[in-house]
């Protein structure tokens, strides 16, 4: 055998004669083809990874500025002559002063602050109004809320931390430049120069933007005040609903299908339905929610309850598939032992199989929840794109209040004209990704910590 193999290259009628050590043209071609094929494979993996990296870097670089914000700290004299003309400190009278009535206070405070810091507003050629416009329009509302909450402070000088206008904010983040300001009707280069001077004086500071995480959405012309507070609450409510509905229903369905279901047409029908539902486009679930939950059952639009129900139906197949897998992985000997000591079938499942499958079930549930958290399209159809500024109430009533959701808020912001909203949208995506990452991390930890190998 070995001899024959050793002798074979020496056979005279061999077509490709030559030594094994020296490659013939054909061998070289084949080897090159082999190398090319490998290179294609590596390139494919490289492209995939590069796409991931470009995606993450682009979102991060666009979104990180949303977490810092320019603030202007000023002392404002709460002028009784303007805020409480009657002098009675009657709260109803004070409430009658609209936010427009508060603008002059900010204007005065701005001038005061500049003089105190040795900045001559004349030098920049800015009117008092133009200087005031550097403060967000939210400032007057902030002042008004403070005065209504603390009427006793009228007549005092109180220090406030105002949001700077989004263009000023953008200037310090590199979104707005002197050149772009010249073309922009909302900001002038002089205002930017003044902002530089204010920053040097320490009046204007860039700090961490907690407001972005806690505030509700804001209107079109004040992106600096927009936050994802309502969206986070809305998403949280929906996740609670999904968890409370999808987990028990999914586990119950899986137990039936895996442990009890007889082989018949009904079981087949259920199985086919579940595997199909897992692949139905998410927007179709949105149509279902609109037609059934809103138009037919009369549930309110934009409410977390409807979103939660729709997402529950979407998550169920995921949970059922993973639960069945983890029920299947519990060895039959456990069931047999339970039956052997006299447990009923139901007892063996609920007392022994289910607890052993629990880590797998929880992992699947968390992954399902993470999917539901990022889902956008069905929520758009059930009215979650509405502009919601009010925080929903505490559950259970809050489930029926209008709310937003994180991914839908992102979509909303991308539809607005001001580029400052693009920054906010990317910032919200970062928050969303952090949530998803921690959920997946939790799932991995659960799996590592509790998974049993039989």
């Amino acid at each position: 055998m070995t001899d024959a193999t050793a002798n074979s290259p020496a056979l005279p009628d061999r077509k490709h004669s030559g030594s094994l050590m020296e490659h013939t043209a054909r061998t070289r071609r084949r080897n090159n083809a082999e190398k090319r094929f490998r290179a294609y494979g590596l390139a494919a993996i490289g492209i995939g990874l590069a796409a991931l990296i470009v995606l993450l870097v682009s979102i991060l670089s666009q979104g990180l500025p949303a977490f810092s914000q320019t603030f202007v700290t000023m002392k404002v004299y709460l002028d009784p002559a303007k805020l409480d003309k009657s002098g009675t400190r009657d709260i109803e009278q004070i409430k009658k002063v609209s936010t427009f009535g508060y603008a002059p206070l900010i204007r005065a405070a701005m001038q005061e602050t500049m003089t105190a810091n040795g900045i001559d507003p004349e030098k920049f050629g800015l009117s008092e109004k133009a200087a005031e416009e550097m403060i967000s329009k939210e400032g007057a509302a902030q002042l008004r809320n403070f005065v209504i909450a603390h009427p006793d402070q009228i007549g005092q000088t109180v220090e406030f931390k105002f949001l700077a206008d989004s263009r000023i904010d953008g200037y310090f983040k590199g979104r707005v430049s002197m050149a772009s300001a010249k073309l922009d009707s909302n900001v002038s280069p002089a205002q930017l120069q003044l902002a530089d001077a204010l920053k040097k004086a320490g009046v204007l500071k860039v700090g961490f933007n907690w407001g972005f995480i806690t505030n509700p959405d804001a209107s079109e012309n004040r992106p600096e005040a927009a936050g994802i507070g309502v969206a986070i609450i809305g998403s949280l409510y929906m996740m609670i609903i999904v968890l409370c509905l999808a987990l028990p229903i999914g586990v119950a369905a899986s137990i039936y299908l895996e442990e009890f279901a007889p082989q018949n047409w009904f079981t087949d029908l259920i199985e086919v339905n579940i595997s199909n539902l897992a692949a139905v486009p998410s927007i179709v679930f949105g149509i279902l929610g609109l037609a059934i939950f809103i138009n037919w059952a009369g549930l309110p639009q934009s409410a977390p309850i409807v979103g939660g129900l729709v997402l529950t139906l979407m998550t169920l197949p995921t949970i059922i598939i993973s639960t069945r897998a983890s029920l299947k992985s519990v060895p039959p000997s456990i069931r047999d032992a339970a039956l052997g000591v006299g447990a009923s079938k139901m007892q063996s499942v609920f007392h022994h199989v289910l607890p052993l499958a629990m880590p797998g079930i929880l992992t699947g549930t968390i992954i399902g929840l993470a999917q539901a958290l990022g889902e956008t399209a069905p929520l758009m159809l059930i009215g979650m794109v509405a502009f919601v500024r009010e925080f929903p109430a505490a559950p259970p009533e809050g489930f029926f209040d209008p709310a937003s959701a994180l991914p839908v808020q992102v979509y909303n912001w991308t539809q607005r004209a001001d580029p400052a909203f693009t920054e906010r949208a990317s910032g919200a995506i970062i928050v969303l990704l952090i949530f998803l990452l921690s959920m997946n991390f939790l799932a991995i930890i659960l799996r590592r910590r509790f998974e049993r190998r039989w």
Binding site: L42, I45, N273
Partner: protein
Amino acid sequence: MPVLWIVLAVLGLGLIGYFVGRSRALGSAGGDIRQLHSLPSYYGWNAFMFTVVPSLIVLALWLLFAPTLIENRIAATLPQATLEQSGSTSLLMSEVRRAADALDLAVQQGTMDDAFSRNLRAEFTDVTGRLKATGSIITQDVTQPVLRAAQQYRVMSSTSNLIMSVLVVVLAVVGLIYALLRTNRDFRARNTVEIGIKSILILASSIAILTTLGIVLSMLFETANFFDQYPWQSFFFGTKWAPDFRGNSALGMLPLLWGTLYISTVALLVAVPIGLFAAIYLSEYAGPRLRAVAKPMIEILAGIPTIVYGLFALITVGPFLRDAIASPLGLGNNTNSVMTAGLVMGVMLIPFVSSLSDDIINAVPQSMRDGSFGLGATQSETIRQVVLPAALPGVVGAILLAASRAIGETMIVVMGAGAAAAQMDQGLGAIINPFQAMTTVTVKIVSQLTGDTDFASPETLVAFALGLTLFVITLGLNVLALIIVRKYREQYE
């Protein structure tokens, strides 16, 4: 919240049933647990089940159907003239409901006493004003027939509520007594409880069927409405999409379908080669270390929500393609384009194709590779001529599944592809330029169903017809893919 109280009362009765049933069973066995057929707690649960389940089912059914029944009876009593005046019964009924709610509120706030609210007549009192004063939303003046109906509505719904409460509680008590009477030491409580639990399990599994049924029925129903108002031939074969809420819309589906297929094709052209090669490399060549790093990294792409891809298309890929390719070549200056959406969607589908193909390639038996190597084939020859042909049905199934994903994908196309429908009447050049904006079926479903919608106009209802078309197409692809994959698996296992 009277319903909440009823539920609490029923649950309370159930709890009593649990403890009484348990102790009754123990008592009948003289305290000797060995004499009982089942464990004592099963007798308790049995009593709980009989108390709670039937009464809560009745409560749910009542809440579901009573309002409709009442409204139908009220609507029948309304004079024909009033009905004609308001245009539709449902509008009038919502007016009646609002008036009734306002009356309730007025009684609650104490501005009217109950008898007064019943005998109130619109001719003699300024009802509208007084109801508005309670803070309720009354859009129109409350006329006498409406007021009359509202008063009737209040009476009927309070009677219905009363009957419901009594019925539910009585049913709970009857169930409790029945269960307790049956409780003795020979009663097979465990079997009864287990039958109950099993029914719950079956019910939970049928939700999948109900969901599919709900999807199909809700869309079928509205689609039928749509085809009543708009000819189906023009929908399926129309080449122009120009909805106009003032009427006279052209609602042809073909431009949308073209956009959908075009974008999906671009996406698949990106995803299939990359995904397939990545899967081949990872399963056939990569060492355990590269595999341990690269496989999860690529799968991260699958876990990223589509809104993130949409934003990526909108702020990065779109502007880049426009500035780098489309504008210099004079192919258009849109950031939204077929290419933008297609490329980004392709990236989204890479992990989908690669992990499915990976599984399938791994399932090809090693003996086939060994045979090929034994004949002197190189590794790439083995893959191309042995492994891939063997895995082909599975790979085709994976590609079909990816195609169904691409067709149903919404957020990427909403944010990346644009809103203008392909103009099929402008010739071939207008519809094959990949750097122009083009809209898809899913985008139009979103745009026709968000914002102010009027569920009577064909411009809104067309979304349901589009949805049904989408559902049928994706369902077809999924079923085909499943059949192919299943058939292939049978070969090797």
